[in-house]
């Protein structure tokens, strides 16, 4: 039998380099689909159509239309990560707390894995088919009567006559929440499962109420994971393009939609301005991640120690 020999000088096993060969496809992928596009993006943001250095691509900073698109993107991402995050957290808690039957948690995990990746055109179509002007839930609602605020019956009840519009920011929030909450379920479930049953019992035994346990033990323990998951959700919504484009047809100006318009290749587009807009997104995500790291340092001192 052949024995592995260690390098006398370094004391390292030379065969460990062999295992790195398996990672080569990953390194190639990162190089070609992350590093190189990023370099193109960063350099393109500071070049004009002829390849000359310019800062003109950032003129959108003076354009209220572009600035508003950033605000809308941030706002929609924030709202959907908070709503989806909270909803996902409670769903995950309900299944991990041991009160729900095991089959329910299996179904939820499977559904979450599917729904978290169900975005883009199919998701937009699914929402149009259900909550669109002729969607089947809209049709069902039209078949019932509801009592209005003044007590008078509203027959038939058409949500579109009462301010609802799927093709608006509200619709976008609804659609985004659909893939945000399962992502939260998937990311927070391991953290919730990490809460030891003995901690609740020890806390209760020492005289605490359930609220005190959550305030002093469970939430502080979960906080680093909650922050991480929320950042993930924010990034997920901030970079989403296809769902918004397919659902609203580009009528709501998100940064990603504006970038899409610039790089689509029609005569009105300017890819370099698109790169500059994307550069702005990178800056915003970097600031968000920086804030997250700062908060993480504060809330997770006990993990690092």
């Amino acid at each position: 039998m052949k024995n592995k020999q260690l390098n006398r000088k370094s004391g390292k096993d030379p065969s460990r380099w062999k295992s790195l060969i398996g990672l080569l496809p990953f390194f190639f992928f990162i190089a070609f689909f992350l590093v190189m596009p990023s370099i193109t993006l960063f350099s393109g943001a500071f070049q004009d159509m002829d390849g000359q250095f310019t800062l003109a691509n950032f003129s959108f900073l003076q354009n209220t239309f572009a600035l508003k698109s950033y605000l809308t993107s941030i706002w929609v991402s924030l709202i959907t990560s908070v709503i989806g995050g909270a909803f996902g957290f409670f769903v995950a808690y309900a299944t991990t707390s041991g009160r729900a039957p095991r089959w329910m948690s299996t179904i939820l995990t499977t559904f979450s894995g599917l729904a978290a990746n169900f975005g883009g055109v199919p998701l937009a179509f699914a929402f149009i088919a259900t909550l669109g002007r002729t969607g089947f839930i809209t049709a069902l609602l039209k078949g019932i009567c509801l009592n209005g605020p003044d007590g008078a019956a509203i027959c038939p009840f058409n949500p579109y006559d009462h301010g609802f519009n799927l093709y608006s920011v509200v619709g976008l929030i609804l659609a985004y929440t659909y893939f945000q909450f399962p992502l939260m379920v998937l990311t927070i479930t391991p953290a919730l499962e990490g809460l030891k049953k003995e901690w609740v019992e020890a806390s209760t035994n020492l005289g605490s109420s359930s609220a005190q346990y959550w305030r002093y033990v469970a939430l502080p323990v979960l906080l680093p994971s909650l922050l991480g998951a929320t950042i993930l959700l924010f990034g997920n919504a901030f970079g989403a393009y296809a769902t918004a484009q397919a659902l609203t047809g580009g009528s709501i100006y998100l940064v990603t939609i504006m970038i899409g318009q610039q790089i689509r290749g029609d005569v009105l587009g300017n890819p370099n301005e698109g790169y500059a807009l994307a550069f702005g997104m990178v800056i915003i995500m970097s600031i968000t991640i920086f804030l997250y790291v700062m908060l993480q340092r504060k809330t997770a001192r006990w993990i690092k120690s």
């Binding site: 003995e198 020890a202 605490s208 002093y216 006990w302």
Partner: protein, 353 residues
């Protein structure tokens, strides 16, 4: 009047009986151990005391107050868990002060009590450390201090030393007893380790399949076990199948060799076994004692003692000898004579497990 009373406590989980008709009265300051194998109901009983399980029937009274249905956070019992259960996000001092904090005690009082408790476990210098910066033994001492900080009426310990290595276990065992005696606190200790129970307890409750087998002092449990289960579970014992030879003289036969055992009257025709502890057996022949001869089957070093197993007419008999420097260890296979006093053995008709 006893401080803590468990009257006819039973507990079933979906039809399976975990504890059956458990009765116990505990005096103030007593150290009681629940001893038994896994699944005997000892932890379930402790959890019923703590309020984490509700008894299916029976009552629990503390200082003449019915606790049976009282929520766990209103019982004022301190509990120490096998896995320490320290809050990872809090420092050692914050962990110890947690019970006082949630009770709304003033800061100065919390600080004073925390320091007092940390001094008690000799960990004042570790006050600002997080649990993951402490060793297993330190974490368990901290868990003990946290449980004691609320000044509980009863201290509950659920196999607190099981997760620790042997040396730390021994040190911590002595420390638990020292602190318990210093505070004079009534303590219930759950363990499956008979040595722990024997060395720590004022009284031991031996349990099996949810039923109390015997309650008594360590000496009573070891020297006068109430049945084969207790005899076998607590310490080592030879339980040898014997035949009644001369009932009037109290003589039984092991293979072809006679043993004077006495106490025949309680046996009623069921299979008879002779019980004798390995440390009661000595090598050699002594006039007037029970003498047996056989061949050495194995010799095992256990540190302070050497266990010798002798094949006596097809039955293995263990004998323990102190491991002295001058000890002449017999060789496997050599003929060997052993003896034990008549009063050191007893007969049982219990069935072997």
């Amino acid at each position: 009047m006893a401080q803590l009373e468990l009257n006819h406590i039973s507990k079933s989980f979906s039809g399976t009986i975990a504890v059956h008709d458990f009765n116990l009265a505990v005096e103030t300051g007593e150290f009681i151990s629940f001893l038994g194998p896994s699944g005997c109901g000892k932890t379930t009983t402790l959890r019923m005391l703590a309020g984490f399980e509700i008894p299916t029937s029976g009552t629990i009274r503390l200082d003449n107050r019915d606790l049976t249905l009282l929520p766990a956070n209103k019982r004022n019992m301190g509990m120490v868990f096998q896995s320490y259960a320290l809050f990872p996000n809090m420092t050692a001092a914050q962990n110890v002060g947690y019970g006082l904090k949630v009770a709304g005690k003033p800061k100065a009082e919390i600080e004073g009590r925390v320091n007092e408790m940390l001094d008690l476990i000799q960990m004042r210098d570790f006050a600002r450390r997080y649990p993951n910066q402490l060793s297993g033994g330190q974490q368990q001492r901290l868990a003990l201090a946290r449980a004691l900080a609320i000044r509980p009426q009863v201290l509950l310990l659920d196999e607190p030393l099981s997760a620790l290595d042997a040396k730390i276990r021994l040190e911590l065992r002595q420390e638990i007893r020292r602190i318990q005696q210093h505070l004079g606190i009534t303590t219930i200790y759950v363990t499956h380790d008979q040595e722990e129970a024997l060395s720590l307890s004022d009284r031991i409750v031996v349990m099996r399949r949810g039923v109390i087998q015997q309650v008594g002092t360590p000496q009573q449990i070891y020297n006068n076990p109430a049945g084969d289960f207790v005899a076998e579970f607590v310490g080592h014992i030879n339980l040898l199948p014997v035949e009644v030879d001369q009932p009037r003289q109290g003589i039984v036969r092991l293979g072809s060799q006679l043993i004077r055992a006495g106490q025949f009257e309680h046996l009623n025709g069921r299979p008879v076994r002779l019980a004798v502890r390995p440390e009661e057996l000595k090598s050699g022949f002594v006039e007037g004692a029970n003498n047996l001869t056989g061949k050495i089957e194995s010799v095992t070093y256990l540190g302070a003692i050497v266990r010798i197993r002798v094949d006596v007419d097809g039955h293995l008999v263990s004998l323990d000898m102190f491991n002295e420097r001058a000890l002449n260890i017999p060789a496997v296979g050599q003929p060997y004579a052993i003896h034990f006093p008549v009063g050191a053995c007893w007969l049982t008709n219990g069935e072997k497990e």
